[in-house]
Amino acid sequence: MHCGMCLPTCPTYAETKNEKNSPRGRISLMRAIADGELDVSRAFADEMYYCLGCLACETACPAGVDYTGLFEASRAEIEAAEVLASPGRSFWRRVTLDFLFLHPRLFHFAARLLRFYQRTGLRKCVRGSGLLMLAPKRLRALEPLAPEISRRFSQQLIAPVERPRSGKPRFCVAMLTGCVQDVAFARLNRDTVEVLLANGCEVMTPRLQPCCGSLHAHNGELDQARVLARRNIDLYHLDSLDAIISNAGGCGSHLRKYGHLLKDDPDYAQKAKQWDDKLRDIHEWLAEIGFRKPSQDSAVPETNSVTYHESCHLCHGQKISREPRMILESLPGVDFVELPESNWCCGSAGIYNITQPEQSAKLQERKIRHIRGTRASAVAMANPGCHIQIEHGLAETGIVVTSPVSLLAEAYRRECRGDG
């Protein structure tokens, strides 16, 4: 099937109107490789890294083509064929994929260093002195995009086991803290736990959780992704959990496909399937258990009109679109405004803003234009990558960047305090 229904939803095709830059075009190249008509070439590799992996094509595809699987397999083949290999690229891939995102302690240490750099005046000093010009190109590009690291990480804010303040817990859930989310958005993780507690969930949050492996899977390192999946599964006694909660769109999309990732692993195939069955995005879970609507007197004045940006991997990857809106609409004193093209990629796309800065910037600008057009005072989203990308784009506009869960948590807090 190559009907072309995916074309109008593809951000890169919209930019170039060149078939090669569309899902249908990319799949035709994959097929040519599979049929032996084409080698895994440099041009093919460049194309597969030009793809955002936003999966809008999957939502659009009536035929149900599994683009995620094709996309990940293609990138893995590209890495195996080493057509893009260069010393610099290999170095950065090793640093990030083999070290930082494979070892949580190392990751925390790096985050601490980054915070030290951001908070001690070192950053001002480096930026002012032009020292940055001496840094490698990639590091230079990365520096302004790096998220502000939190003072305290998730494990300082969340106890390994937390129970609702009153009453017997209705559910027992595990809370996945993520990597970037853990060190840059620890507050959102805390908010997630609070919302879960307020809705009768006992929350288990193991310390030093491994990365979910989505970064590895999307960048052609499927074996490492499998290692991380097994480590994650091993952290829990799955039978005792009602749900495993993810609050980051990008991670969740990958996390709920462990079954597929480990299907050929005799020791883990069954467990991975059970894992998938219990994996829930936080918004999905709240809707499923019928979350409590905050009372009328808990309105937050700074966010009286809110719009919603859909993380690609939440809406296209996980097909969760209605639930975050339900949460926003439940907030007292909040006027919910629809965002035009709400499910069009913002250009963050994992590390796309570093690998393809030009295309990423165009998408960021398009997104910002729409957000400003709504005249909302806040924009909510549920993915750390989008959060960083959109926050950068909205700098100095005064528009608040937040998440549905944080807004809900704040409304609950205001109820307790009795203000609002």
Partner: protein
């Protein structure tokens, strides 16, 4: 493709608007049609009629075939390249140049997306009715070249009924204009009618002047379900016989319903044998009255249930879901061979019955849907192009279906065009001197045979 030709093309356009690398060309080696593929020599992206003219002059001098393409969603192989040809991809000519609410017309460049035309019309309270299944991505130039139909054909007709004028680049590179904004115009031959549906074989359509209608004030969408497909067909015949012309009367069989529901998840009943999507639009009073009558007729002809869409949003969801039918059928098998036979409406029940009988006889899996009110059926064979034996059976079944279609006074294609897919059947429908005249026209307008050669006929 020879280097000197590419050099000439680069001079005529710009180097960045010509693709020659294998990775760039492969994605242009097919269109929306199953199991048809051929590599072009290059792909060019002209941005004006002048540039197209220059390309045609270069091609004409060397007798290089030129295949025109929009978004590549055609379903008869019309824009599948001829080996080593120049593909003229017109998607970058995508401006709506004028909406004229006083004359109810719209002037668009050839690469404008069909849906964008109706959206632009809607801003003025106007309406562009033709709505092919691929309207979200198909180009208007492609629609005119294929004379596309759609879901609203029953009441509003097809693309041809909305083309008032066009700019065409002829095979020798001359740029011609036919038509105007006048409702009546009988000066000379109606040349625009010749180019509508000519599938890129007579000239390259670069601009179209379209007729718009006032946007209907109201519409009502209903879903009738049946235990047998024949009952659905009988309902359609009865509605037409009662002299009601609804906007659409679309049907889906069970296989198609299940695939569509699997994709769209809008709660279609998956246990029924057939489903009829009925829509009426126009003045609110008329709409209410017609809807009531249609529901009654459906009930009298075996409908198990008739559901009325609660609101505009549900109506749109239903119509959108119907538009995905063809693509959704690929959920069953990788290759979907789509038919487009059309019969006079009084032969509908007979034809539906015959198609099922043939599929059963060859043990083939089919899903059928289509524009029942138009007599336009899309029986779709669900198969795998790698399975030679089954593909052979599909061929035989198709031959039988086409033969019967012609026998009952139907046509081999209602709205997809002949292209490559239906070429072998054209001679069954046209006998001399009609077929000879078609070929004579082609020879006259394109003596060097460079425009989409080998399509429609050899």
């Amino acid at each position: 493709m020879q280097a000197d030709i590419l050099q000439e093309l680069e001079q005529a356009l710009a180097p960045d608007r010509i693709l020659t690398q294998k990775e760039d060309l492969l994605p242009y080696s097919f269109d929306g049609t199953a199991a048809m593929k051929s590599m072009p020599g290059c792909v060019v992206f002209p941005e004006s009629a002048g540039e197209i003219s220059a390309c045609l002059k270069i091609a004409g001098a060397r007798k290089i075939p030129v295949v025109t393409r929009g978004s590549g969603t055609g379903l008869s192989g019309g824009s599948v390249p001829v080996e080593d040809c120049i593909v003229l991809c017109l998607v970058r000519m995508d401006q709506i140049e004028e909406v004229d609410p006083r004359n109810l017309t719209l002037l668009a460049q050839t690469g404008v997306i069909t849906k964008a035309i109706d959206d632009a019309a809607a801003e003025h309270g106007l309406f562009y009715p033709p709505d092919p299944g691929s309207m979200k991505i198909s180009t208007i130039g492609g629609n005119v070249a294929e004379n596309s139909g759609g879901l609203r054909g029953l009441k509003y007709g097809v693309t041809r009924d909305y083309v008032m004028g066009m700019e065409v680049v002829l095979a020798d590179g001359e740029i011609a204009w036919f038509g105007n904004k006048c409702v009546k115009d009988v000066a000379g031959y109606s040349m625009r009618d010749l180019f509508i549906g000519s599938e890129g074989t007579l000239g390259i359509i670069t601009k179209v002047l379209l007729k718009l209608l006032p946007r209907p004030q109201a519409r009502r969408t209903m879903l009738a379900t049946y235990d047998s497909m024949e009952d659905a067909a009988r309902t359609v015949s009865a509605i037409i016989a009662a002299q009601i012309i609804p906007c659409s009367l679309e049907f889906l069989d069970q296989v198609t319903i299940r695939c569509v529901e699997d994709y769209a998840k809008i709660g279609l009943p998956t246990e029924v044998a057939a489903l009829l999507l009925m829509e009426t639009d126009g003045h609110p009073h008329v709409v209410a009255e017609e809807a009531l009558q249609m529901a009654e007729i459906a009930g009298e002809h075996g409908a198990v249930d008739v559901h009325t869409a609660r609101d505009e949003a549900e109506a749109t969801r239903l119509a959108s879901a119907r538009r995905t039918a063809f693509s959704a059928l690929a959920r069953v098998k990788p290759t979907t061979i789509l038919e487009d036979v059309t019969v006079p409406r009084d032969k509908l029940t007979e034809m539906v019955h015959f198609i099922n009988e043939v599929a059963g006889r060859y043990s083939l899996h089919i899903g059928t849907f289509g524009h029942m009110g138009d007599g336009n059926l899309h029986p779709t064979f669900l198969t795998d192009e790698r399975d030679r034996d089954e593909m052979e059976k599909v061929e035989k079944a198709l031959d039988e279906i086409v033969a019967r279609t012609i026998e009952v006074g139907g046509t081999i294609t209602g709205e997809h065009g002949v292209g490559l897919a239906k070429k072998k059947y054209l001679a069954h429908q046209f006998s001399d001197p009609s077929l000879a005249l078609l070929k004579k026209l082609k020879q006259t307008l394109d003596p060097a045979n460079i425009l989409n050669p080998g399509k429609i006929f050899d």
